[in-house]
Symmetry: C2
Subunit: 616 residues, 2 copies
């Protein structure tokens, strides 16, 4: 091709995916990619794709489409980049494709420019393409071309825009906080950044803008938000990423109730604006204690029932040793009902038992309420009357299968909470078209950490205790509830926040409860404790996991689908090959050297050779 | 105070700064900070401040303001946080303060809650406070309380909101790109992040999202923007920060001309929306060559004249050795005119000479065009006629002072370009109310790097050469102009961009011109070169320095004023004390150890003691 290729002369007048019958007769210019080409009876058909969708473009020999143009058409291959001028025409009735929005029309070519050629792509650029995940990640830029991926990022951009509009309309200021910040004692998960100017010193990338947003309240900004990148260096699971995006909100002088109302209004508007879905308000609210009791989870999916039923009192003193032992040890006996599963085979039930064992259950008793009577390995321990009472309390009907857990409160909740979810999925009890929010409130302030034998902050160390529990902070810390709340959606925690401690004396009591001496607390958080002395307003806020919200809205299985350039479960970017080795010289400038495994790795590679052509 | 302080019962109904005469008679509740307190004739006056401004609140003994309330009023000190309920009243005529928007009214107190006390702040919370910069940075959260600082961040939030609205309306999608990315060969200024999972490997924080935004174009997103944090580890000057924010824009299928028009529309709208200022369009455009010739700068401040005048040809062969030598060596002789400075003393002229010497000039000839005739140390080298011709070409009138530079093109431009700016400031030639944009175009594609003896990319290695210069890429690289452009405003570069190379063969020629073998280029940029093979559209974009734009709009002297929590010139955060030492254990997990100076530093501090109470 000539060097004139930079001089694209045909410029887009319309988006390909937006052409309709109303455009018939118009001359249009389109630019985009060749989705596919077919040759049929001397004609060439191209599906021309751009961000808006695609349209059929026809090369049909005629006065305006001479041999030269036909030859150009013949050169086109999948993913070639072209500019096309032509006239919009109705398709013949037999050629109408009702499945696509542009299916009633086609564009008859009058001019073409091939802007760029394309090699054969390693996988087809189409939805539901079945290809190895790692190959897709390596060629992420091609994966992102697929219409279903484009839709996610269009949704994400719309959603973020909506959030900003809403918060701006409500008087919130967007303020950016630093990325190069200080490592904190919870810093085990910090990404560190060595300083060139200060030998031996490091910045930390923020796990959240928590300190800064509170300082902005001290600064009198009153209403702050930020769409903030956060970082956590933890072992990754399918639904975690080393860097993630938080919609971070903080407000002064607002009662918790009003704040929750505003958040609900924001979320309802989000679904209205981006998906056209109406969510009823107010959102249900549930204490942490109730959520754990009824759903075995602090982020319950309330699109379906299958709640946990407490049978502890009913089985107290019964003949079944396993139940009895759990009750005696201060534990619980609870059950969920699998509707319509009374006919499950022994093998099916064994599989469910194996499932709950993953969550610490030692076994699983069951009662099948069959038409012809009760079938259960524990039937012999209960009278007919007791058995009917159990069935009644569990809420089971004829045809149902009751599944039990008897253990500590924690194991029972974990086992049945997860079993409940599995049953709902397996039995297709979930209405996937629904989006159900629920507030979980009154979280415990502190958690006991087995390893260190100390209490740690359940939320973070700046969370305000409930005023009515404040007096327990020194005497019964485990039972102090916090002014902390999560917002859950369809079984995922999408946001969490709290009212903050804004007076120094409470903050100091909190640090003490966390096992810090005052001196240690000041060493770590001195600047924050000091800030609190200069007139800190009452304040609180919330942070939402933006990636997760988009994942749920787009009904995708993984956070990866919502991040343009995600990392794998070993925190690698397969496309750019990050992280990667650097030269010894680059390290020395930062006053660091390889240690341990890194030294061994370096010995086995010809360091510098593969990474730094400039240094040669 | 009782523990009930968390139960704030008075909730804001109005913003303090927005109360006006129209509110007289209304009962209002305000929340905020005590700006100051005065006691006068048994009354207590409080200026109550919130984000919107402040209003006078009066404690006057009455039926509704009994002794208990007066006692509360008496407790108030500067920066106490309070909620106040009262009635808006007109001030007596003599008490009206026309200087503040709320000066016609005051609020008579009926109820008060002290939400928090405050220690005496280390400096007064008021505009134009004269206090050490480092103290302000240490107590940044207090500095940010000052109304002039709040205004900047309100402006910044508005400006960013405006940009997003504009780009969203123009079909741009906001897409986030990674922060943990790959170190590149230009990586000398990269901040590195050691990987825990991959020993000896590092991420780099992005200096810009350049690669990713081009890949998004390969992905068919067509129109992308992002307000992106970027990082550069360089020696800091007053106007640099290690982390800064870029408004990053990229677009496919658009001719350069149309793209510039869109940018202009965006900038005009920005000033309209946020400052109510009309900027005329189109913006002037000037080639790099012309800007350097006329202003000695590629980011000229065009709010004033004092342009560089070329006298090279006129002085060729003259008797003044210095001029002659410069001309003979292929250099230039140019001048600027300092209007009305013909009467400058020898000392004043010496100071100007010292100034240009900083920019490499070896001396400075001058001609004072005085009423009584020409005064000049170089008068003797020119005939009366020649002298008049020089004065004419320089554009000087009676009363003016002509200042010369004779040297290489680069030194002349540097010396006179800077001298021009200094004169404009000193002589107050600049209309500070004006905002003058100018496009600088046709930048050189390559620069010769003295140190390495190689060509380096002037903009970046993906910049498209001008089509008419492409044939020079191998034979005369220094004279290849790029499809690159900067947008300058009032003498600052606020944005820069280019049309990109989108075809692999040109990209490979570019790498070759940069001295990479094809193999080296593929090792470094393989994934990008490969991406370009799968159908890359023509594309280009621009990146704006958001911090700088806000600095200019807010008419502040430093970028620091536009960043909520900025770093000092040694890249330190004086408030949080970042960067800071970490424990050996923290480093070992990341497979790194101290090296060089860092080892010495560690030996002199009791490592771990001051930094990690948890580890004890």
């Amino acid at each position: 091709m000539s060097e004139q290729f930079q001089g694209q002369t045909l410029h887009r007048t319309h988006n390909a995916g937006e052409l309709r019958k109303a455009h018939v007769g118009e001359q249009v210019t389109l630019t985009g990619w060749v989705q596919r080409r077919r040759d049929l009876g001397g004609l060439i058909f191209i599906d021309l794709r751009d961000r808006s969708g695609y349209v059929q473009v026809v090369f049909e020999p005629s006065e305006t489409c001479g041999p030269e143009l036909m030859e150009m058409g013949d050169k086109l291959r999948n993913e070639y980049v072209v500019a096309v001028r032509g006239t919009v025409s109705s398709r013949s009735e037999s050629a109408v494709n009702a499945k696509i929005p542009t299916g009633e029309i086609e564009v008859h070519v009058q001019a073409v420019e091939i802007l760029n050629a394309a090699k054969t792509t390693p996988f087809f650029i189409q939805d539901n393409v079945d290809v190895d995940e790692n190959l897709k990640l390596k060629y992420r830029y091609l994966d992102l071309r697929r219409p279903e991926m484009q839709k996610i990022f269009i949704l994400r951009s719309k959603a973020v825009k909506y959030f900003r509009d809403f918060l701006d309309n409500n008087g919130f200021l967007e303020v950016e906080t630093p990325m190069l910040t200080k490592s904190t004692p919870e810093g085990a998960r910090d990404y560190l950044v060595p300083s060139r100017v200060h030998p031996g010193e490091f910045y930390a990338l923020p796990q959240s803008p928590q300190l800064f947003k509170q300082l902005l309240m001290v600064s009198g900004f009153e209403r702050y938000y930020q769409v903030a990148r956060c970082f956590r260096d933890e072992d990754l699971r399918a639904d975690r990423q080393p860097e993630f995006t938080q919609l971070d909100i903080e407000q002064s002088f607002i009662p918790l109730e009003k704040f929750h109302e505003m958040v609900e209004e924001m979320m309802v508007g989000l679904f209205q604006t981006t998906l056209g879905i109406e969510i009823p308000r107010p959102f249900p609210r549930m204490t942490y204690a109730e959520a754990m009791a009824r759903y075995g989870s602090d982020k319950p999916d309330i699109r379906y029932g299958v709640e946990l039923q407490d049978l502890t009192e009913q089985v107290r003193g019964c003949g079944f040793k396993v139940f009895n032992a759990a009750v005696e040890a201060g534990g619980q006996v609870k059950a969920v009902v699998a509707p319509g599963c009374a006919g499950y085979s022994r093998k099916q039930i064994d599989e469910l038992e194996a499932f709950v064992k993953r969550y610490g259950a030692k076994g699983m008793a069951w009662i099948a309420v069959q038409e012809e009577g009760v079938k259960s390995p524990i039937a012999k321990f209960f009278s007919e009357e007791e058995m009917q009472a159990l069935i009644k309390t569990a809420g089971a009907s004829v045809g149902d299968l009751i599944l039990f857990a008897a253990d500590s409160k924690k194991v029972v909740a974990d086992a049945l909470g997860n079993l409940r979810q599995k049953l709902a999925r397996d039995l297709q009890l979930i209405d996937e078209s629904q989006f159900k929010f629920i507030w979980i409130t009154e979280f415990p302030l502190l958690e006991h950490d087995e390893e260190s034998g100390r209490y740690v902050a359940a939320h973070h160390p700046f969370t305000m205790p409930m005023v009515e529990d404040l007096h327990l902070l020194e005497t019964d810390p485990a039972n102090v509830r916090a002014q902390a709340y999560d917002l859950a959606l369809n079984g995922f925690e999408i946001g969490g926040g709290s009212m903050r401690i804004f007076r120094r004396e409470i903050q100091e009591r909190m640090f003490k409860a966390l096992g810090f001496t005052l001196e240690e607390a000041w060493e770590q958080f001195g600047f924050l404790l000091e800030a609190f002395e200069y007139g800190t307003p009452p304040h609180g806020g919330i942070a939402f996991g933006l990636d997760r919200i988009i994942m749920i809205m787009a009904q995708r299985p993984s956070l990866r689908d919502t991040i343009a350039f995600p990392k794998t479960s070993s925190a690698s970017d397969l496309m750019t090959d990050a992280p990667s080795p650097v030269t010894t010289q680059q390290m020395e400038v930062l006053h660091i050297a390889r240690h341990g495994k890194a030294v061994l790795e370096a010995d086995t590679t010809a360091e510098g050779e593969t990474n730094d052509p400039v240094a040669k």
